[in-house]
Symmetry: C2
Amino acid sequence: MSGLERARAFAPASVGNVAVGFDLLGHVIDGPGDTVTASRTRQPGVTISAIDGLDLELPLEASRNTAGRAVQALAEHCRVDFGIALGIHKGIPLGSGLGGSAASATAALVAANALLDQPLPTHALYPFALTGEAVASGSAHGDNVGPQLLGGLVLATADRLLELPVPNGLIACVVHPDHIVETRAARAALGEPYPIATVVAHQACLAQFLCGCYRDDIKLIAAGLKDLLVEPRRAPLVPGFQAVKQAALDHGALGSSISGAGPSVFGWFIDQAQAHQAARAMQAAFAEHGLDSQAWISPVNSPGARLIHDTESRD
Amino acid sequence: MSGLERARAFAPASVGNVAVGFDLLGHVIDGPGDTVTASRTRQPGVTISAIDGLDLELPLEASRNTAGRAVQALAEHCRVDFGIALGIHKGIPLGSGLGGSAASATAALVAANALLDQPLPTHALYPFALTGEAVASGSAHGDNVGPQLLGGLVLATADRLLELPVPNGLIACVVHPDHIVETRAARAALGEPYPIATVVAHQACLAQFLCGCYRDDIKLIAAGLKDLLVEPRRAPLVPGFQAVKQAALDHGALGSSISGAGPSVFGWFIDQAQAHQAARAMQAAFAEHGLDSQAWISPVNSPGARLIHDTESRD
């Protein structure tokens, strides 16, 4: 079998942390995403041929670009004997907390993988995605690339991805305000260490959340869908956060918290109509703090990255 | 329906924390246990009529005794119109890390519950068991009383008990050295707070452990059966701990750590013969540190507290 000459892939935005799983849990949304075209070139090495869409300030140097670095790692591992040029179309605003840099890496890997004579299974792309993610965030955490690769809700540890069962009909509402959270400030907020009592209380939430997923028990998920570690410290970085979260809870959210490093805020719902009402109320709360916003409503169990089949085979 | 005049119950020892679930996870062992006889008295109130067995220094004043306090809480809740006298036989050494004080509370509740005209379901005894446990430990954590009530491996949060699925044939080996860990020292060791990186690494273990239980995946359980929080700080309080743990791991343990506050050490195994070899090696390692010890080998999925049916009905 020989790989494609050119392939295009889409990777969806994702909600990182999912309140209770800092750096460990994430789920995709059926909403915005990044699209990457990978093309074989005679010249060896990985190049970024173009970046367009929402963010034009990203580095074109492959090793400093999340997509470029991820595909370099894949190409080295597979010892490819051709070059790969990447064209990146950003659909996810950077700095939104929706896994924008991760999505470029994920889409680039899925597209580049299709160029290989023997493409790897999707799971096997995870370490390369982590390598790419580390370029953008300085640390290799898989809570965005994990679900973007596999879809749905995923537990992502340093060396393992686990797809978690999600009750049917679970819906996420994600609201992205027009505001930038300084990554440095978001990290600095976590500098102070945590007393054992807080750690144990949070772990009780994590355990209940995971048991709730496996037992298909909405009440248990709601009992666990809380963030006692990160949210209390990062909330001040998101203008209006408490009001936005309260708006979600007032409209039936099982839980609500910051997506990734913010400023996006998400809630989980079991009722479609409530999710729509919540979205309006959450946007209104941001508006009261002077922020325009965009909202997406999506099943938690949405598909992950995939090839877009308008490509031609090499042969 | 009217309750019994007199009832006797047994509650088994338990492994608290189970490495990865400080104050949250525990499992019973089929080994030593405490036995409590509860008898109706005309005189209202709860009294401790006798304590015998391994520990004779326990308080006879009901409100200062874990069994007495637990039954007081049950009696108040159910507004019983008779008195209850408790006879406690200690089979679990106190200060062993095997849930000794919890077992007295659990056995007392199960026995006293049988005296009620309308006994509560076992689950419903949990808050009273926590009240009793708090007398001994100063804090209400359910990682011993939870599994002692329900049997097997249990997640015990402040207000909820969840039975966790355990792969068939999973075996615990528990070794109790003849040594006392000062509760105060065990608590003081946890005073220093934890950096977020340690918390996240530990939570990755907890998540893998729980997913491993639900997926019946031994490798995943082994990946998660680790304690990055408490064991590193309490290990110096258990003479020879590293050698004992290593002996368990050298004989095929999925994981090994301190049971409860120690000094008992446990390991989990999938092979009965390996568990027996490990027990001997763990005891030898304690012996090299000058400590005699006792060992028990038991299915993780062992039964919880139960009535011993040598009682007579009131009618």
